[in-house]
């Protein structure tokens, strides 16, 4: 397969997954903002969302304060913000357009249709109570896109590049998400074991579609350590770091080429550390430090994938 084609497929998948994760992140804030909390807690939540994306400076250049309205405008509709849902879905569509001969017509039509609907999405809907509906819609379109991939694509190289993009993006996003939200909740407003505390943790779980999962896995009260364990180490939870890295590793194996062995080794090492890791050790080392290190390794893998397969720097 052409390196450029693989590049488009990989980034198409990453942008779709990114749009979904931005929606999930905004959704958890929205849910938390409905839970009673200390003064300033709500706006602090919206500010934290920006710190996840590393876009605080770009945001400050346009908006004076991080409020629900300003953050939503910036992270949903602002076409100049490369991480806004609008930009992600546009980039997904542009990448798909460039390889429409390689993807199935169903995939192309799904991606194209998502973009057309997003472009024309009525903005007033985000001002009112229908905001939750919008996040659901973004997630639904992402589910649809993955479903169409699984249901129509030949299990060839193209498929594996799409999956690789999806799970590298998810590993990165989930890690950032846990990092920021966990610390907000643990260091934050609500005293432990209160109703507010419970609602905040459950909002976090719901935003990664893990609330029911938690109940099934632990049949227990919601505790911060178990939430972290579920999102980092659980092998059945589809958005956990472990599941994401297992998928990254397997898809990389399927794509293996004459110079990717070191990249495969690093991916294998990372997924093994999640497979055999214990949550006690994660906390003993410090969750924040652990996640920071994880994110660095995921970024390194992304760079190596580009170098090995996608857009080579030299022609040899």
């Amino acid at each position: 397969m052409l390196s450029r084609t693989a590049d488009h497929l990989y980034w198409m998948a990453r942008y779709i997954e990114r749009a979904e994760n931005v929606a999930r992140m905004l959704d958890v804030n929205y849910r938390m903002s409905m839970v009673p909390q200390a003064e300033g807690g709500i706006d602090a939540g919206w500010g934290a969302t920006l710190s996840i994306t590393g876009l605080e400076d770009a945001f400050r250049a346009k908006h004076s304060a991080a409020t629900m309205e300003s953050v939503l405008e910036f992270m949903v509709f602002d076409g100049t913000n490369p991480s806004s849902i609008m930009s992600c879905l546009r980039m997904a569509r542009e990448n798909a357009h460039a390889v429409r001969g390689t993807i199935t017509s169903e995939m192309w039509e799904t991606t194209n249709d998502t973009w057309l609907k997003m472009r024309d999405y009525p903005r007033w809907k985000l001002a009112g109570s229908e905001i939750g509906e919008f996040f659901e819609w973004v997630k639904f379109r992402s589910h649809l896109s993955r479903g169409v991939t699984l249901g129509t694509m030949l299990r060839d190289e193209a498929f594996h590049f799409i999956r690789l993009g999806t799970f590298l993006e998810r590993a990165d996003a989930t890690a950032r998400f846990i990092d920021v939200k966990y610390h907000m909740l643990v260091d934050g407003a609500a005293p432990p074991d209160t109703a507010a505390d419970y609602y905040q943790w459950s909002a976090l779980l719901r935003s990664v579609s893990a609330f029911e999962v938690y109940r099934k896995v632990y049949r227990d009260l919601i505790t911060p350590v178990k939430v972290a364990e579920l999102l980092i180490l659980n092998d059945q939870m589809p958005r956990s770091l472990r599941t994401s890295m297992v998928e990254v590793f397997e898809n990389l194996n399927a794509l293996s080429n004459y110079r990717s062995s070191e990249t495969e080794r690093r991916a294998g090492e990372l997924q093994a550390s999640l497979k055999f890791g214990r949550i006690e050790d994660v906390f003993a080392r410090g969750l924040h430090e652990y996640l920071t290190q994880f994110i660095v390794r995921v970024i390194d893998l992304g760079n190596r994938v580009s170098e090995d397969f996608l857009v080579p720097m030299s022609s040899s």
């Binding site: 080429n257 022609s315 040899s316």
Partner: protein, 473 residues
């Protein structure tokens, strides 16, 4: 200008009776409820939109895509007529390839005095870089899209030969697919010759012209990219042939060969079906500002390590200033009389012709010799006084750049328009493939000028398309 009653109607003869090959269709049309037709037309629009069979229009808001209107009344050609037309096309394309081979080698046709040397050698489409270069099989125009019209009492004329990067074949294929989807019952009533195997035929043809000694050639389609007006077609053909669709940035030259960058490392490329004009192919040899091409490609090509289809420099044979000489080429190279008519052409560079043209501008069609796509053209009988005067000045300033032809009364085919069904002017572009042999699928792309009385069928100027049926009996 011919009056409307003298225009050849594809469905109905002059006395008002239906032509025999259209009888079955006309009956079916009369029996089919208008609501069903309307519903099917809406369905066609919807499908074309969703699948994204669109084209970008130059000069409009960038990236804007439009549908080419599709008309559901097919253009039907009886088997016998097609047989004659096909024989004429083979003859013509064969002679044009021999002409190109001659131009870039011994130039016998110039020596024999049939075409003036300066007409060829000072032509901007002549590529001195190709002089003396041997191409596989001596084939230059592997894909020709010859524009044919019917005029007068129904005889065929060739309007243009289109030997560079002719487009439109994807619409031919999609139109057929659409007709079979909308009206399957018609295909059980009529024995319509299939066209679906065109991509296979094209691939076989491209593989047949690979550089000597290559056993299992790698073929690619080279596109300028996703923002080109014909990108849909480039992607479509690559997908249908099962080959890579590449851009210039995907290719590079190393050790005198051409490679593409793949996820498994560099891979040799043997045949390029290029959909980029000569000027943009190689920034080292042609336009240095081209980002679309591959530096060093020309040298690899001249060394015979890669085949380009079509070859570089084919424009010298389909230029409008060379067109008048095609009948002579057929006689010169093949020793045969041309089977297809040429439109009588006045060359403004000749003083006598120029004088005639200037005094008959209101009757003639004036074309730029290098123009294409229906741009830069004057249709005298339909032009305003101002347009005529503007062209008069242009022709006087640069007579070399213009030719003129009598306005042909193009045939018309019944077509759905706002007011119902009415005759609209049509042309036909069959696609002629040259490799080891000359092949074509029966038919081609029928374009229709949707505006009443209009003679311009180009999609960029409001033209639509129709499915073209060549009957097998």
């Amino acid at each position: 200008m011919a009056n409307p009653s003298s225009i050849y109607d594809e469905m109905n003869s002059a006395d008002g009776t239906v032509r025999s090959h259209y009888a079955g269709y006309k009956k079916w049309l009369a029996e089919t409820p208008p609501e069903r037709i309307a519903q099917k037309r809406a369905e066609a629009d919807l499908v074309f939109h969703r699948v994204g069979i669109t084209f970008a229009v130059y000069g409009e808001e960038s990236g804007k895509e439009r549908l080419i209107p599709f008309d559901i009344v097919p253009r039907i050609i009886p088997a016998q007529e097609w047989k004659q037309l096909a024989a004429g096309l083979r003859q013509r394309v064969k002679a044009l390839n021999m002409f190109l081979n001659d131009v870039y080698h011994d130039q016998e046709i110039i020596k024999a005095g049939h075409v003036p040397a300066e007409q060829i050698l000072s032509n901007s489409q002549y590529r001195p870089e190709m002089q003396g270069v041997d191409v596989p099989g001596g084939i230059y125009a592997h894909i020709a899209g010859v524009d044919v019209v019917r005029a007068g009492a129904g005889e065929f004329y060739v309007l243009e030969d289109n030997l560079r990067v002719p487009s439109g074949v994807s619409y031919m294929l999609e139109d057929r697919r659409m007709m079979m989807r909308l009206f399957p019952e018609l295909f059980s009533r009529y024995r319509v010759a299939p066209v679906e195997h065109y991509p296979d035929m094209l691939l076989t043809n491209l593989r047949a012209v690979a550089p000597a000694g290559v056993i299992d050639p790698t073929v690619v389609v080279l596109t300028p990219g996703a923002y080109n007006s014909a990108y849909f077609e480039h992607a479509f053909l690559a997908q249908q042939m099962g080959v890579e669709l590449v851009e210039g940035q995907d290719l590079f030259v190393r050790d005198e060969h051409l490679y593409m960058r793949t996820t498994q490392g560099p891979q040799r490329v043997d045949v390029i079906y290029r959909r980029i004009d000569d000027d943009f192919l190689d920034p080292l040899a042609f336009r240095p500002d081209s980002m679309l091409g591959v530096p060093g490609l020309l040298q690899v090509y001249r060394d015979g390590h890669v085949t380009l289809a079509n070859a570089i420099g084919t424009g010298v044979a389909d230029d409008k200033s060379i067109y008048p000489y095609v009948p002579d080429m057929i006689r010169f190279y093949l020793g045969e009389e041309p089977l297809l008519n040429n439109v009588p052409t006045f060359m403004c560079r000749k003083p006598d012709d120029l004088a005639y043209v200037l005094s008959h501008l209101d009757e003639l069609v004036v074309k730029e010799t290098h123009g294409a796509g229906g741009y830069g053209m004057l249709i005298g009988p339909r032009a305003t006084k101002e347009e005529i005067e503007r062209f008069r000045q242009l022709i006087i300033d640069t007579p070399d750049r213009y030719i003129a032809q009598p306005t042909l009364a193009l045939s018309a085919c019944p077509t759905f328009v706002d007011a119902g069904i009415a005759p609209r002017h049509i042309d036909l572009r069959p696609f002629v493939l040259s490799g080891k042999d000359i092949n074509m699928v029966p038919g081609g792309l029928t374009r229709v000028a949707l505006r009443e009385g209009s003679l311009v069928v180009n999609s960029s100027q409001g033209g639509g398309t129709k499915d073209t049926w060549i009957l097998e009996i």
